[in-house]
Structures are given as C-alpha cells and as structure tokens.
Amino acid sequence: MSAVTEPIGAQPARLRTPYKRAARRGTLALALLAAILLGAQLLPGDALAIDATARALPPQPDHLMGTDLLGRDIAARTLAALAQSVQIGLLAAGASTGVAVILGLGATFGRLADHAVGVLTELALGLPHFVLLIMIAFAMGGGTTGVIVAVALTHWPRLARVLRHEAQTIAASDYVAISRALGRSRLWVARHHLAPHLVAQIVAGFIVIFPHAILHEAGLSFIGLGIEPHLPSIGVMLSESLREIMAGHWWVAAAPGLGLMLVALAFERFGEALRQVSDPAGHIT
C-alpha cells in the first residue's frame, strides 16, 4: 500500500490533519479488534456445536450467515475464527516487529553487522513471500507455532530498513553530536533522542505488519500448513467451503472472508494513516 497524499488546500472542506485521521482510523480498528475478542468470549457454549437439524441453511433470522453441511452456525464460527486469527496475528506481528528491531538496530553496529543484515534481507526477499512462508511453516512442522514463526521471519525487512535508516540519521545528527559534546552518555542519548523517534516507527511498523500477518496466516491455514484444522480459523473455514461452494452454498465462504477482509482493511488504513503522520512528505514505498 502506498501513502496517498493530497496537497494541502486541494480539498479544504474535507481536509483532516494526518493526526486526526490516524486517531479516527485507529479508534475504528481497535474497536473492531475489541469487539471481535469480546464477542468471541461472549459466544454461548453451544454456538459452535454441530446441529444435525440445521444443515446447510442459507442466511435467515436464526442463522444470520447460514450454516454449513454439519449444521454449524457460520456467523458464530466466523467470530470464533476471527478471534483466533487476530490473536495469532498479534503474536506473529509482534514477533516480526521484534525481529525487525533487532536486525534494524543491529545493523547500525559497524559495517560487518550492516553487511550481515543486508545479506539476510537479500535472502528473505529472494523468494516470493508466500513460498518462503510455506518453507518456514514446513520446517516448523506446520501448526500454529509454524505460522507464527513463518510470519515472524518473513515480514521484518521493510521495518528493519526504516529503523536502520532512522537510527543512522539520528546518530549522525547535530543535536546528538552536541549532546555527546556536552557530556551526555550514550545511554542518555539513546533514551532521550533515539527512543522517542524509534518507538513511533516501531508502533507504526507493527500496525502495518498486522494485516499482512493475518492474511498470510489465513493463506497458510487454507493450504493445510497453518492452524490445526480442529481449531476454528478463517483459512480452514474457507478451505472447507471449497467443497460446499459447488453445491451453491455461497454463504459458507462469504462471511469468513468478509470478516477477515474488514479486519485487514481497518488495520491497513490505520497503518497507512500512521505512516503519513510519521512521514508527512508522503514517502512512497
């Protein structure tokens, strides 16, 4: 996704500052996240149960999104699956952000480290994203851990590059030189000059990685390398829907994909707005 900037003054009537837009989209995304996690907790115990009397029903008042061949309510199952996906996505995106922080900042420790991180980046970007995800998930033996590790090890390059650049720019700046000349320790400089900038970038990077994490997690689960099939997950639901779609049961695929799309969309828009806040010049990546 690229940041789309409108020149200031082009649309004065609808103009919102980047901060306000980020706050608005952030509230929306986090509210959606909270609603999913809370909603899944509040699901009645039998909401996911198999019901032989309500098999393959189209959407109707009792089952808002219909039921599948086993009589399970699609809406309830989608909610549970989304909660599962979101939790795994948060973990995986967090782990990937951690990798990016370590490698991005690690690259600033001398030329050798910089080259090593460069080689790692080159390797991570050398394969198509999804092929590398499959390889790592395979190496981990599939399953939820496999998904988290695979996402963590594949989504870091962009954020690592941003952090490396940011840290190097700040370290080379005049105010850091002056601070050092005034006798401030390296730690003091790191905490007062480096950290405030980097924390903002790290948070924005995490938000940007998150939608990709849940989309890729769903993809891996869809081909059978991800979340264990007995757990509710969007990828597994969509993979099961493949069989039912041929019988015309479109609703089996509609709700899970739509739910995932809305979550990804909300966070993608939030991340984009955050990026505009941290880079008002409209940096295109």
Partner: protein, 327 residues
C-alpha cells in the same frame, strides 16, 4: 546503451553467484529442520502393509540414514551436475516435475502479469486524472479493498458467481476432466484460464494503481502539464498522452519487481482451481514432506524473483537515462 546494461547484468550475476549457494544452504538447513518424517508421510495410511524392514529400505533408498552434512554434500554435488534429486510425492526427478509443471504456471502468471499491468495502469491514470471526484474514489476504494482481501477468497467468490450460480465458466482444472490432452480444444483451454487469470490479475493490483495515480498527479502538477492545460488539454487527454509516458516506466519497474509475488499468489489460486502447475506442486510437496521437490521449487522461484528484479532494473534505466550513470 550497452555499457550500462553489461555493467548492470554483470553486477547482478555476481550477486546471484553468492546469493544462490547461500540460499541453497539456507533452504537445506530449513528443510532438514522439519520434524515430519518423510517415510511416514510416504507410507501414510498403509502403515499396516509396510513393516519396519521396508521402512528402513525406503529410508536408505532416499539416503535418509546418512547424516545431514553428508546428504547436503551429495545434494550439492548432484545440483552442480543439474540433478535436483527425486521427488517423493510425484515419484519422478524433481527437475522433470518442475519442467512439466512450469508451463502451466507460467501461462497463468504471464497472462495475469500482462493483464494486471494494463488494468492497473489504466485505472491509475483514470484515478489520477479525476482526482478527488467519484471515479477516483471508486478506483481507490476498490484497490484498497482488494489489497485487504485474501486472494484465495476472491477466487472462491469468482467460482461461486461465475461457475456455480451463472454456470458460465469451469470452476476447476486446466481442461475438462476425463479428457485426453489431445482432445482438449484451444477454446476449452482458454475457458479454463479465465477465472484463475482474473483472480491473479486483480488481487495484487493495488500498488500499481496507487503508484500510477501518484506519478500522474505529480506530472499534472508540473509546469509542463500546467502549460499544456493552459493550451486547452483536458486532464484525461494529458493522462493518456504525456502522462502515460511519464508514469509507464515507473509502473513497469514496479510491476516487474513484484512479479515474484504473482507466483506466490498463484500458489493459492492453483490450490482453489486445482490448476496443475508449480503452485499446486508446492502445496503437495509441503503437505507431503517432499523435501527434494520443495528445495527445487525454492531455487526455481529464487531465479524467477531474480529475473524479475533484473528486468525491473533494466526497465527503470530504459525509462530514465539518468539512472544509467549510477551503478
């Protein structure tokens, strides 16, 4: 013209020369980590028919009883001689499996590449020319929504609408089931390609649309464009005249650099449409613990991404001569 090209290609080949062995070591290490027992995956449900002696025989036939370092050395030696080993799931040499399945995937990826380039540039130009008005909003919303949709879900929806409900197009495979390859007509082949190609063309289109829009807007704000519009040129005419020339180079560069992702997308598209290509083989290799095939596919896609990036660099320099001077 040729000096910069030779320098660029030489530089990239040197990079490939160290990247490829590193990637081979990395892939081998990664795949050796897998806790899945390939013999068990091969035996599968036939556990009762295959005794421990036969298992040992299978393991030694595949060289699994030797230590990893020895296996890696022999794999590397074979690789240097052009032998990628034996695929377990397809029971054929890896190179043969890849060669047999590559054309089907390349047909999908190649068509989707051309189609999404045309579509993405077109939509980007229209959006840029009508900035802020409804066509722009519709196109941008569409691009952002598509970027947030799982590609395989889009594929499933297309099947539900065009194959099941309307019955216009086949939902699966590269040819009607049960027909010999010689009986399949070209028209049948094309019909089977429509939905997979459509899926692949639209799911990754967002960056192209937004970048083209962005570079057209930058052009429309330039003194040259202001001059032309003072002479009466409309934004749409500017977009498809000088604006297209302005944006096309960047768009092509971006699109070529993203060609590897098209292959990634085709893994999922092929899974939905049961398309007999390399993507389907990837999934079967991964779920069937077929390490040699998985490594072969890894190396093949590495070369694919490399070629895409190299072509992207060449396209960028063809479009913008200033780039030729640096590196």
């Amino acid at each position: 013209m040729t000096a910069w090209l030779a320098r660029l290609v030489a530089g990239r080949l040197i990079r490939l020369a160290w990247l490829l062995p590193l990637a081979a070591v990395g892939l081998f290490a990664l795949i050796s980590l897998a806790p899945i027992d390939p013999v068990q995956a091969y035996v599968g449900g036939r556990t009762s028919q295959i005794g421990p002696e036969q298992r040992d025989a299978i393991a030694s036939a595949w060289g699994l009883d030797r230590p990893a370092s020895e296996r890696f050395a022999s794999w590397l030696g074979d690789l240097a001689g052009g032998d990628l080993g034996q695929s377990i799931t397809f029971n054929a040499p890896v190179l043969q499996v890849i060669a047999a399945r590559l054309p089907a995937s390349m047909a999908l990826v190649g068509l989707a590449f051309a189609l999404s380039f045309l579509l993405g540039t077109l939509l980007g130009l229209v959006a840029g020319a009508t900035r802020g008005r409804w066509p722009d909003r519709v196109i941008r919303t569409l691009a952002v929504v598509l970027a947030a949709s799982p590609g395989f879900w889009v594929a499933i929806l297309l099947v539900a609408v065009f194959a099941v409900t309307l019955g216009w197009l086949p939902a699966c495979c590269a040819a009607p089931p049960g027909q010999l390859a010689s009986e399949v007509t070209p028209a049948d082949r094309w019909r089977h390609m429509v939905l997979p190609v459509a899926t692949l063309s639209v799911v990754g289109i967002a960056p192209l649309v937004l970048h083209t829009r962005q570079s057209l807007i930058a052009f429309l704000d330039s003194p040259a464009a202001r001059h032309l519009s003072a002479h009466g040129a409309t934004p749409l005419r500017l977009a498809f005249g000088p604006g297209l020339r302005h944006a096309a180079g960047v768009a092509l560069t971006l699109h070529l650099a993203g060609a590897g992702e098209l292959f990634g997308g085709s893994v999922l598209a092929e899974a939905v449409f049961a398309w007999p290509g390399l993507g389907q083989a990837t999934v079967r290799a991964a779920t069937g613990a077929d390490a040699p095939l998985l490594m072969g596919i890894g190396l093949a896609t590495l070369l694919f991404v490399f070629a895409g990036n190299l072509l992207a660099d060449i396209a960028a320099r063809l479009a913008d001569p200033r780039l030729r001077r640096i590196a």
